[in-house]
């Protein structure tokens, strides 16, 4: 009998090694020093003409169309199949065709940098790619995640045997996504790095080339994704963090049932992302006062956590700042000058060849460190706030009467629809109506 576990292991090994294969490097140009041979011009590398603007507008148009269709398929048509087809299209278009760039997730960084660096011009496309999914989420929930995001799509395709991640673990793991978001903004705002792009797990697949380590990591995520559905979206995606909060406010939300919930429980395990919340029972009266005291204590703890987080974040300014090329270079030069490193790097050699005063480099690095000190305060405070809220929220006793798609966690994939008997009734009546209409035509 075909065993899924065995097959999965095979795929894991094959995909990981497939990544290794793509990592094959190019070979160096020949040494023609003595023969006087001139190497072919590399103008084709340096003179790459920018992509025609019309294609950028086309991207935006496709994005708007995909978002609209996705929202319509999920909320109105309630068709998982349509969402799936759209998802495959988005994977092909935004992933393989547009090679994963530009994407709304990375656009967070462009936006952050443009706020802090006035010399950085933010393109209209980047703004639209950032904002449009947010607007759609405000109205229709996370329909971007469902059928438009190529990163979500590639993970969705490999979901095979999703296991259920307990809600308490899911919530804590999600803390990483908040840290990632804050770090991405900090590094982008300081002009250090676009870490979301640098550590894009799936871009190597879209471009069919990439850094070996990222390929392997991406493969690992896909393998994990067979059993833990969409791990990147749920625990890492920094854009997902923003979408989560916005979709809480969305005007039209995904509902498992097209009608009233009859609590048949048929849908309770249908969501691979653990986004279905169950009806709650009455909270026990015993220990009620104790719980309230705990809640009060946790609320009081919140500012402390914010402060400690800020302090910790700013203390790490030297470590954070190493993400900035100038600081890295200054530290390298410092170590070389102190005799702690005997060999130079390409970067340090290039800097030395400029003959620029090292003191100027040190000054620039010191300024950047100061920026990180301030940014570290903000980042740390934010993480402290999120962690504090994560402690408080489980202590808030909420009442639910139906099986619901949690508006924050629901990725609007539409998988649960068919599990609802009321949905089956709806579909049947639809098809009956269709038959009547066909008869009428005849």
């Amino acid at each position: 009998m075909l065993r899924f576990g065995h097959i999965s292991i095979c795929i894991f090994i094959s995909i990981v090694l497939c990544g290794v294969v793509f990592g094959a490097e190019r070979f160096p140009p020949p040494d023609f020093d003595e023969s006087g041979h001139e190497l072919p011009s590399t103008d084709y590398i340096t003179n790459i003409t920018p992509r025609h603007t019309i294609y950028n507008y086309l991207d935006v148009a496709v994005l708007v169309a995909a978002l609209s269709l996705s929202s319509w398929f999920v909320l109105k048509k309630r068709s998982r199949r349509s969402v799936f087809i759209l998802m495959v299209f988005s994977l092909v278009y935004f992933g393989f065709w547009r090679k994963g760039c530009i994407c709304p997730i990375g656009a967070i960084q462009n936006f952050s940098l443009s706020i802090f660096d006035h010399n950085y011009a933010l393109s209209v496309t980047a703004i639209l790619f950032l904002i449009l999914p947010l607007i759609f989420t405000l109205f229709f929930g996370r329909t971007f995640c469902a059928g438009v995001c190529p990163l979500g799509a590639i993970q969705d395709l490999v979901v095979l045997r999703p296991i259920k991640v307990p809600s308490w673990l899911e919530s804590s793991l999600r803390l990483f996504a908040y840290i990632y978001l804050a770090a991405a903004i900090l590094f982008a705002a300081t002009g250090s790095a676009f870490i979301i792009c640098r550590y894009d797990l799936f871009i190597s697949f879209f471009r069919l080339s990439g850094h070996l380590n990222m390929l392997i990591l991406g493969c690992c995520f896909l393998v994990i994704g067979m059993f833990v559905a969409r791990p990147y979206c749920r625990f890492i995606c920094p854009y997902g963090v923003i979408l989560r909060q916005l979709s809480r406010l969305s005007k039209w939300k995904v509902t498992i049932t097209p009608d009233d919930c009859i609590k048949c429980k048929l849908c309770e395990d249908s969501c691979p992302f653990g986004a279905i919340t169950k009806p709650t029972v009455e909270w026990p009266q015993i220990g009620y006062t104790k719980s309230r005291k705990l809640l009060a204590l946790l609320i009081l703890l919140l500012p402390v956590l914010i402060f400690l987080g800020g302090f910790g974040g700013s203390s790490l300014n030297r470590s954070w700042s190493r993400m900035h090329a100038t600081v890295r270079l200054a530290e390298r030069i410092y170590l070389e000058n102190q005799g702690l490193l005997s060999e130079t790097t390409d970067a340090s050699s290039a800097f030395r060849a400029t003959g620029e005063p090292i003191e100027d480099l040190y000054d620039q690095a010191s300024v950047i460190r100061k920026q990180f000190k301030f940014g570290g305060w903000l980042l740390g405070s934010f993480i402290g706030l999120v962690a504090g809220l994560k402690l408080i929220i489980p202590s808030i006793r909420r009442q639910r009467t139906d099986f619901q798609a949690d508006s924050a966690s629901c990725l609007a994939c539409g998988r649960c629809f068919k599990y609802c008997p009321k949905e089956q009734v709806r579909l049947k009546s639809l098809s009956e109506k269709q038959e009547i209409a066909d008869d009428d035509k005849i």
Binding site: C10, V21, D33, S172, R318, N337, I393
Partner: protein, 574 residues
């Protein structure tokens, strides 16, 4: 007539056959993926394991080619191996690209198959009854809090870990270059600090005998010949030696005299210069090395320049192109901060080939290059400090030119020199002294901008002007030593000749000053030591018993002298 039951049955059997088809497809795609994968892994391993071995073999062959540039068989082997390597690389690259695509496709088919199989055997939901929903809710809330606390603990640990990384404080890093005190304490380049030939120590021995071994702390044979002078930093002494085939840098232990390491200066680009014939008096290693206390840099007449760390590891090397020098390249190196300063004078002024080059000592990268309107010269540049501002002073026909050593921008120049300049400039008593061989000693005020010939020459003297040896001065008196032995003393302030003495022997080594004593090392290896004063007063004479052409180096209580075959360390043996 078909019943509903029959319809359901046929539906079921169709689903089962679709399930089998999907399963079969998945298995075939899976097996296919594994086969491609195996081939790709093999391809990858070949690239990772086989290619580096062959590439190393190719590099070794290329190095051998430097030794045997006319070996046709070797050249053909290199060509064939190089071609084979390139062909294989292209083939592997194409194979991995196509194979990778195929593998992705196969994995895609596998996924479709397996997902379809799953869809055709979809399980019906099995709602479970939870016995104690209340307890479950409370348990989940508690767990959620504890996991958050655990995550916070991990974060705190991460913060503590990163905080502990050793800090680099740029505020205290501005003085990372050698201080003037460090430079003054050592003998880091030709003729020591500022190229002055003045010892920072006065406890230098005056009496020794090479034959009996009196006051000879150690004597070590130098593998290859060279006229360059020893350079001393701490407990290390550096020299170079070369012949037509080899160019080497040596490091001796100043305590024991042991040759700690010797390093070959190999540059594939200089292979063609193996045939370079040098003027005998200059030899293949006339230029003295320079050190900054962490690395030592050397240059050879082939244009090979390189830097080694104190353990003998080559940090970088370059070939600057063989200098077109009539008597062979002989300028010594100077250092300023992180810069290795090379006076690369050659050919004629009209050839426009002469230049001053500053290389970064860490990487060998060219930091600046300044063209010089001069022909070949045999002087060495010096770096001096005047009023907190450093100047790089150079001499070549007809100019004494000062540059800003950090960027190579010319500061001032004076037209006062003639052909074949060999004595290096010195700075003493607020004046720069340049020597027009056999013709004149010129004292220059080192200020102003541009051509200051008309305004900045303080005085000129014309008696007993040397052709090889550089002068030495204590700031009040300046001493000139002609190569055939005439020692002349001038007053620094006005250029009045005070006295002269014929030492009746020949000199190539430049005179040195230790406190109030002049050290004059003749070609015969006899050191005449005279008191600095209003007349020549010899206080001691010591013989090495070996010919000497290089200038001595001084450190605390010791003097290092390079004979034609040996390096000597002289001092108190106790």
């Amino acid at each position: 007539m078909t019943t509903k039951y029959d319809n359901q049955n046929s539906d079921k059997s169709m689903k089962a056959s679709w399930y089998e088809a999907a399963k079969g497809g998945a298995v075939v795609a899976g097996v296919f993926s594994v086969i491609i994968l195996g081939l790709l892994v093999l391809n990858y391993l070949q690239k990772e394991l086989l290619d580096p071995v062959r590439a190393e073999r190719l590099e070794n062959l290329k190095v051998t080619l430097i030794e045997q540039p006319k070996n046709e068989q070797l050249i053909n082997t290199i060509r064939e191996l190089d071609l084979q390597l390139r062909k294989d690389k292209i083939r592997r690259l194409q194979f991995s690209q196509k194979g990778g695509l195929l593998l992705l496709g196969a994995v895609g088919v596998f996924l479709i198959g397996i997902k379809s199989a799953k869809a055709f055997k979809a399980k019906l939901p099995h709602p479970t009854a939870v016995t104690d929903q209340q307890a479950r809710q409370i348990r989940q809330a508690i767990l959620a809090r504890w996991v958050t606390v655990a995550s916070l603990a991990v974060l705190v640990l991460a913060v503590l870990f990163f905080i502990n990384t050793p800090p680099i404080d740029f505020a205290g890093a501005v003085s990372s270059y050698l201080s003037d005190e460090e430079i003054a304490k050592n003998w880091a380049s030709f003729r020591g600090p500022q190229g002055s030939g003045i010892s920072a120590y006065t406890n230098i021995p005056t009496k020794w005998d090479g034959k009996s071994g009196e006051s000879i702390i150690w004597k070590t044979a130098v593998p290859l010949p060279g006229h360059n002078s020893p350079v001393v930093w701490g407990d290390r002494v550096f020299l170079t030696g070369a012949n037509k085939q080899k160019r080497q840098v040596y490091c001796f232990d100043a305590i024991s005299g042991k040759l700690l390491w010797q390093a070959d200066m190999i540059n594939p680009a200089s292979a063609a210069d193996k045939t370079l014939d040098m003027y005998e008096d200059t030899g293949y290693a006339a230029s003295t090395v320079a050190t900054d206390g962490r690395r030592v840099c050397a240059i050879f007449p082939t244009g090979d320049v390189g830097c080694f760390d104190f353990e003998g590891k080559k940090l970088w090397s370059r070939n600057l192109g063989t200098p077109d020098s009539m008597y062979g390249y002989a300028s010594s190196l100077a250092m300023y901060q992180n810069l290795l300063l090379i006076q690369y004078d050659q050919a004629t002024a009209d050839d426009n080939k002469s230049k001053m080059i500053a290389l970064d000592t860490f990487s060998g990268a060219t930091v600046w290059e300044t063209k010089r309107p001069v022909p070949g010269s045999w002087t060495s540049p010096i770096v001096i400090k005047i009023g907190g501002q450093s100047q790089l002073i150079t001499c070549a026909e007809p100019w004494v030119i000062a540059y800003n050593p950090s960027n190579g921008v010319e500061l001032w120049r004076v037209e006062c020199l003639g052909t074949d300049v060999a004595p290096s400039p010195i700075y003493a008593g607020g004046l720069i002294f340049g020597i027009h061989s056999y013709n004149s000693l010129v004292a220059i005020k080192p200020t102003g901008q541009g051509d200051v010939t008309k305004t900045h020459i303080a005085w000129k003297a014309a008696d007993n002007i040397p052709d090889i040896c550089s002068p030495v001065s204590n700031g009040k008196l300046i001493f000139l030593l002609e190569s055939y032995g005439k020692l002349t003393c001038y007053n620094v302030s006005d250029g009045t000749k005070l006295w002269e003495e014929d030492l009746k022997t020949s000199f190539t080594s430049s005179p040195s000053l230790v406190g109030d004593r002049l050290y004059l090392l003749s070609e015969k290896g006899i050191m005449s030591i005279a008191k600095v004063g209003s007349e020549y007063t010899e206080v001691a004479k010591s013989s090495l018993g070996e010919k000497c052409y290089a200038s001595p180096a001084f450190s605390d209580g010791r003097i290092y002298i390079r004979g034609v075959e040996n390096l000597y360390c002289i001092g108190d043996k106790n």
